[in-house]
């Protein structure tokens, strides 16, 4: 009985419905967690690599990767201090934990072995009397001492911090009261610039250079990295200055190369001279041949031995220097070298790697290991296949003793295209795509391969071909039905296989299996499968796009058309006016046409920068557009050329001079003439943001229906451009301008007081949404502008009425729209904005906001409606769903499409329609890449994933059985009645 009661209770107490069930998380969405562009790596035990990366707009990242699989174990992103990105300066292991110095030496943090923050200590800068320029060029340093103390060299001071709790034990900075030498130097208007900290036994040595002081008021000297001589400060374990020794003789050294090196209690100093002609060692200039113009970095491996890296135009040389004799011995010569001090098999050693080979081609990677005696004990070279990657920009080699007693090595490699690879045993053991952290554009294309046709490149295949294709589609549909039926009948063991097939089939039918193609700042094009987040293909165009001033990615064919696959195009413009137009196959990334793309150039022989490139719809073959290219010299080219050139316009916007000029294409698409011009005067305003509407956004209705069934006519002018300008006058703020780019007329303009950057803008349908920082209220605000052509009363429009609306819309003659504007306070900073798009534009629009907190929110456009009434809404407004205006937009937790996940460093939000009208595919890219499917008006055309098919089947069966029973009973009753 108890069991029955529990069963009944379980039936009648369903769990409360939330925005997303736990088991639905990760089904329709995925998250790729990144570490950014890796600048340094260090090992944390044999199984873990700690990497320091960076992402644009976010600052630094510290992460631990599994050395065998490349999987992310943890990641720490320093919080933005004062709204500014905080770069990571250095890390140091401290007893299984990790010390992280960031923010230009301003913050020291201790992370546990799981990456959680243990403590945080702010390091006060002590640049006494002089300005920041004095210490410029000195990278903050961090050392972890064995006795549980960390040493930080930053801002011309040395700080000792207790690792256990983050207490600052002691801080030393060059104070004229400390030492007579410093007093003398101050009198000479010179000071010590601390360059390098070195620990030897109980003492801490600081290599410093004597440099002219320059004060905050600019009273002395000019900022320079040049120093007049070098000094060595010894701080003993009583935390006092034990000794300061300095050359009294002027001997210019480069502060960035100054190092305290060597072993024992009296380390030597090392510095390259400013003229690059020698190496200064232990106070004496030794004539060592350093190539002129080369940069020098050095470290010490043992007493009396230093290792010097000299890089110049001809490549890099890594050499050991005998400190006593000043003799150089070349270790390695390569295009680029990398090295670090590391304990190998218990002995302090120098592990170095050098790469040689052409960028984009196969490279020879040499790894060698030098022990403290200066002896090499490992040197191995291996040719790495290029594999589509450009050059190596970072190699972190590791040497270890293998189980068989021999030494083995691994190398973590970052390519110029920001891919992170681990080379192990002569092969790539794993690869991470980290260029996505600098993604700047994203587009979606279909991945369906084109149909293979026997006919040639005809636009429309012949009848028999079409019939054959129809037959094949029919067979495919029949096979799908058979497969679906078979999957039902299959045993449990095959169920999962069947469901995977069904899932793939469903994703394909509903248009969920698209490919997101992203262009990054480092010149890579990466395609991700929308269903899984896996890299479908990648192209490293780093070398091809080198020197380009602007690069853009766009779709030229969204889906396969007959024999032509979907296509994306990469467009690069170079300062001399040259334009590279590359077409890539959307499903494979292969070059379409000539490798490297087509090159176009302006007509004038001296060259002119490209002003504008725009696709002219329907001009090219197989539904690909013809491209319009316009240069500053007035030359225009339509590529590929078309016979009937429509009346084409383009515009130029010079953000410096504020000139917006419109041009008409003339002379059969070869030249242009100016038709209109307007100026945002630089004396009054400065352009800060420009936004265009999406050309592929579908709008179902050009009318907005009100509660009383009257209609507002949306202003759907495809030529609108939103230009946000910063007012340079005393009252400040920003101007929000909506401009017609063809006629150069300002359609709407509003002054937003106290508004400052950062500004994000979004043009969608007849709306302009913009986010900005209100410097007075100290909060992020969202502004919304809605533009309308006019209004029609409740009974004004019917099949017989004439509302007097022009069919042909001309930018030059059309009346300006009616603009409504309202501002809302938003509780989070906005990093990126986007809008949902659907196949037919019937589904309601939502604005997608990526917030500083790493959340992505889907906000109904209606919440930002400038028509929201100030007072109580009228009956008609209520019927329309307009709520009373409240200045605050609240974050609805159910509207957070990233649910409890953090999507860090989002730079762009891009959406794409699926085949299902209800669904929009959303991609957020940045340090992390997140994809999800959103249904702004709920999934009205699709059964929920947890739809109870069994219950439906049982209900139908039950009804059929009941019907049969009732029919039988009815027959019997009739029969009985007949016998009465």
């Amino acid at each position: 009985l108890r069991c029955a009661l529990v069963f009944l209770l379980a039936l009648v107490v369903p769990s409360p419905v939330a925005g997303l069930f736990e088991d639905q998380a990760g089904v329709d969405d995925w998250l790729r967690v990144g570490v950014g562009s890796v600048s340094r790596a260090s090992s944390d035990g044999p199984r873990r690599v700690v990497v320091e990366g960076s992402a644009p707009g976010l600052g630094g990242v510290v992460a631990a990767l599994n050395a065998r699989t490349g999987a992310l174990e943890w990641r720490f992103v320093p919080p933005r201090a004062g709204g500014r990105p905080e770069a990571v300066d250095a890390t140091a292991p401290a007893g299984g934990r990790l010390l992280v110095l960031s923010g230009g030496g301003r913050f020291l943090r201790l992370l546990s072995s799981e990456g959680t923050l243990v403590w945080e200590a702010p390091i006060q800068p002590y640049v006494v009397g002089v300005d920041e320029g004095f210490v410029r060029g000195v990278a903050p340093q961090l050392l972890s001492l064995a006795k549980g103390v960390a040493v930080v060299l930053a801002h011309n001071s040395v700080t000792f911090v207790r690792v256990a709790n983050g207490d600052i034990l002691w801080q030393w900075y060059p104070d004229p009261e400390d030492d007579k030498l410093l007093t003398d130097l101050e009198r000479e208007k010179r000071g010590l610039k601390l360059a390098h900290v070195y620990v030897a036994g109980p003492s801490v040595f600081v290599a410093a250079c004597v440099a002219p002081l320059h004060f905050s008021d600019g009273s002395s000297g000019t900022p320079s990295d040049a120093c007049t001589s070098a000094a060595l400060v010894q701080l003993d374990d009583a935390n006092e200055v034990a000794r300061i020794s300095a050359d009294r003789k002027d001997f210019p050294v480069d502060s960035t190369t100054l190092r305290a090196i060597g072993g024992g209690t009296s380390p030597a100093m090392f510095a390259a001279t400013v003229d690059g002609l020698g190496v200064r060692i232990a106070g004496e200039k030794h004539p060592v041949a350093v190539p002129t113009g080369s940069t020098v970095r050095a470290t010490g491996v043992a007493a009396g031995l230093a290792v010097v890296e000299m890089c110049g135009a001809g490549g890099c040389t890594l050499a050991t220097v005998d400190l006593a004799k000043g003799q150089l011995k070349t270790l390695l010569q390569a295009d680029a070298v990398w090295w670090q001090e590391e304990e190998v098999d218990g002995a302090p050693s120098l592990v170095a790697a050098g790469a040689r080979g052409p960028s984009g081609g196969d490279r020879e990677l040499t790894v060698l290991c030098v022990v403290s005696s200066g002896e090499e004990f490992l040197r191995q070279a291996l040719v790495m296949p290029a594999g589509g990657h450009s050059g190596f920009s970072l190699v972190y080699p590791r040497v270890f003793r293998r189980r068989d007693g021999f030494y083995g090595w691994k190398a973590l490699v970052r390519t110029d295209g920001d891919a992170l690879m681990m080379f192990s045993a002569g092969a790539v053991s794993w690869e991470r795509e980290e260029s996505l952290a600098s993604a700047k554009q994203a587009v979606f294309v279909d991945q369906t391969p084109p149909r293979t046709l026997t006919s040639g490149n005809d636009e429309v295949p012949p009848l028999d071909e079409r019939l054959r294709l129809q037959l094949r589609d029919l067979q495919s549909a029949a096979a799908d039905v058979v497969e679906s039926l078979a999957s039902i009948a299959r045993s449990d063991g095959l169920k999962s296989l069947a469901s995977v097939h069904a899932e793939a089939s469903r994703n394909h039918k509903f248009g969920f299996d698209r490919i997101a193609v992203l262009l990054t700042d480092v010149g890579t094009v990466v395609a991700l499968q929308a269903t899984s987040g896996k890299v479908a293909w990648r192209r490293d165009l780093h070398d091809v796009l080198r020197g380009a001033s602007r690069v853009a990615l766009f779709v030229t064919r969204g889906r396969a058309f007959h024999h032509a696959a979907s296509e994306v195009a990469v467009l690069a413009s170079y300062p001399d006016g040259l334009v590279r137009f590359m077409s890539l196959d959307g499903s494979t990334g292969a070059d379409v046409g000539a490798p490297g793309g087509a090159m176009l150039r302006p007509r004038s022989p001296e060259g002119a920068p490209l002003v504008r490139a725009a696709p002219v719809p329907g001009g090219g073959p197989n539904q690909a557009p013809t491209m319009l290219f316009a240069w500053a010299d007035g030359s225009v080219e339509l590529y590929p050329a078309i016979a009937d050139v429509p009346q084409l316009y383009y515009h130029s916007l010079d953000e410096t001079t504020g000139v917006l000029e419109s041009f008409r294409v003339v002379a059969n698409g070869t030249a242009s003439e100016s038709v209109a011009r307007m100026v945002f005067p630089p004396s009054a305003e400065q352009v800060v943001a420009v936004s265009y509407p999406r050309a592929d956004d579908m709008v179902q209705s050009n009318a907005h229906i009100l509660g009383d069934d009257s209609i507002l006519l949306k202003y759907l002018n495809p030529h609108v451009v939103a230009v946000i300008t910063r007012a340079t006058a005393a009252d400040g703020g920003m101007y929000v301008n909506v401009v017609d780019a063809v006629s150069c007329r300002v359609l709407f303009r509003v002054h937003q007081r106290n508004a400052t950057a950062p500004v994000k803008t979004l043009l969608v349908e007849n709306w302009l949404i913009y986010a900005f920082w209100n410097e007075r209220a100290k909060r992020t605000e969202l502004g919304s502008v809605a533009l309308f052509e006019g209004m029609l009363g409740t009974y004004d429009l019917n099949p017989f009425s004439d509302v007097g609306r022009e069919e042909v819309f001309s930018s030059f003659t059309a009346p300006p729209p009616i603009g409504l504007q309202k501002t809302f306070a938003f509780p989070r900073g906005v990093r990126a904005m986007g809008a949902t798009t659907t196949a037919k534009g019937i589904t309601s629009k939502h604005v997608l906001l990526s917030m500083e907190t790493g959340q992505i929110m889907s906000l109904p456009l209606r919440a930002l409606d400038p028509r929201r009434p100030e007072g109580e809404p009228s009956k008609s407004e209520k019927a329309e769903g307009l709520a009373k205006y409240t200045p605050f937009i609240h974050i609805n937790p159910v509207g957070v499409v990233s649910y409890n996940q953090t999507v860090a460093g989002v730079r762009l939000l891009q959406s794409s329609p699926a085949r299902l009208e209800s669904t929009s595919l959303v991609l957020a890219a940045g340090l992390d890449t997140f994809f999800t499917r959103v249904t702004p008006s709920k999934a009205f055309d699709m059964l929920a994933a947890d739809f109870n098919y069994l219950l439906l089947l049982l209900t139908v069966l039950g009804l059929v059985v009941t019907l049969a029973i009732i029919a039988a009973m009815n027959r019997m009753r009739k029969l009985k009645g007949s016998w009465r």
Binding site: R550, A552, F554, L571, S573, L610, R612, A613, A614, P615, V616, P617, L628, P646, Q647, L648, Y649, Y650, H651, S662, Y692, P693, R694, A695, S701, N702, A703, I705, L706, D709, S710, I711, L713, L716, P718, H719, A741, V742, L792, G793, T794, Y795, D796, L797, N798, P799, V803, R805, E806, E807, V808, F809, S810, S811, F812
Partner: protein, 147 residues
């Protein structure tokens, strides 16, 4: 009594009385026809009450009530002649009753139509004809730039 053939008994009828009886019968039939014609009028109040109570929201109850309120008058109007066959062949004038019956059914139908209007199901407002709004064609082609 048994064996009496009624035809054998001649009854002298009073012609005046017979005429009176026939007239009375006609009047009764006429009245019945009028009563029948007024029948829908008696239901109007009930129908109205029913429509009022069903509310203006679109749901299965309001729609089924509305369906009934619309269908019954239409069915009655279509079957108007059939409904009055019971009164035919007695020489009574059915034009007026039929007109009244038809009028009252129209009133009932009107109530239904009014209800349709209240529920927003009649395509009379601008919102119902937005597809008739002309879509602009653009005199100038100025596609959004990609670079």
């Amino acid at each position: 009594p048994r064996g009496l053939d009624p035809r054998a008994v001649a009854v002298q009828e009073d012609p005046a009385a017979a005429a009176r009886t026939a007239d009375k019968k006609l009047q009764i039939r006429q009245k019945a026809a009028y009563d029948f014609a007024m029948g829908p009028g008696k239901n109007l109040f009930g129908t109205g009450l029913m429509l009022w109570f069903s509310g203006s929201q679109i749901n299965i109850f309001s729609l089924s009530f509305l369906g009934m309120a619309m269908w019954n008058p239409i069915r009655s109007i279509l079957g108007l002649n059939a409904a009055f066959t019971q009164f035919e062949g007695h020489g009574i004038d059915l034009v007026m009753p039929k007109l009244i019956y038809f009028g009252l059914q129209l009133v009932a139908l009107g109530m239904g139509v009014y209800k349709l209007g209240v529920m927003g199901l009649l395509p009379v407002t601008s919102a119902d004809w937005t597809n008739y709004l002309t879509r602009h064609t653009f005199a100038e082609e100025g596609p959004p730039p990609v670079l």
